[in-house]
């Protein structure tokens, strides 16, 4: 539901970052999304097409990498990956887990850009 706001922030951040590379064009934006981030990929993709129009990101791809929830299990003394988000128990020992270590990410990992070479620039 709030994917358009999310995408608008992505466009702002990437536009700022790419400004350092003169004449660069964004080819790909790589996003890491936690299973508990409350955003839906289809909706992100839909909004991305609209929000990037007329920006340095126009025509670029949005690649979404989903990451699972990882909790600390105090019984196993280990980080454990959950199968889903319906039960916050350790999949090994079934004890409840309280400490979230991964799963809320909503992060721009990297961008791929096409940069103009100096030679091309002077032509």
């Amino acid at each position: 539901m709030h994917e358009l706001s999310i995408v608008a922030s992505i466009v702002d951040t990437v536009t700022e970052s790419v400004a350092a590379y003169k004449g660069a064009r964004v080819v790909e934006v790589r996003l890491r999304v936690g299973a508990l981030a409350s955003v839906v990929e289809d909706s992100l993709q839909f909004c991305f097409g609209i929000a990037t129009e007329g920006t340095a990101l126009e025509g670029s791809r949005l690649v979404v990498k989903m990451v699972p929830v990882v909790m600390w299990c105090s019984v196993c003394q280990a980080e454990v990956e959950l199968d889903g988000v319906q039960s916050f128990r350790c999949p090994r020992c079934t004890e409840p887990c309280f400490d979230l270590r991964q799963g809320r990410e909503l992060e721009i990992e990297a961008i791929e850009i096409d940069e103009m070479n100096e030679v091309e620039e002077t032509v």
Binding site: I6, S9, S17, V18, V27, L36, Q86, D114, N117
Partner: protein, 225 residues
Amino acid sequence: MTTRIVELRRGVLKKNDELAAGLRASYAAAGVLVLNLVSSPGTGKTAFLEWTLRELRTRGARVAALVGDLETDNDARRLAASGAPVRQINTHGICHLDAEMIGKHLDGWEGVTLGGLDYLFIENVGNLVCPSSYDLGEKIRVALLSVTEGEDKPLKYPTMFNSADAAVITKMDIAEPCGFDRELALRNINEIRPGMRIFETSAKKGTGMDEWLAYLDEERKERGA
């Protein structure tokens, strides 16, 4: 053309998170306990808050509330009847409150300073999805669930319930006619957020409210406020 990968590792909500961290620091400096109330539309956040504001005021606490809705100031007018200062935030279509909106509405709030408050309640826009992503700098996020909504709400909206610090079940006075399965609801909340404090309340009858008020008091003392 040269292709280059630029590592960014930037949180998409970084701007909100930074603003929220600033708010959190100012709440702590002022010694005010801030709570963010989240639920579906119609759970009874406003009725619950009306009751809470009134009772806290009776007990001599200094309280205020910010209330978010897409449109209308109906909730602010209802809450203001408690005598507490209340300010409405209209988001005009945005489905959540963010830290910037909170900062703006705290600035220039006539007659209210953070330092003059014991408790500040923020009633979020009725929505169990989007508000979970936006930190408002609160100390306690309270997820509310009414007996009419179905016991599986926590399973359907795990992000919200997992990110909450306390859960409040509302409208307990009509639990029976609604066929509310209390055990199942408690189990589901515990499955998503093990060990979370749960309050079973009715704002209409005042049920469970003493325990809730005692919790607020404990939390405020705990932070040395």
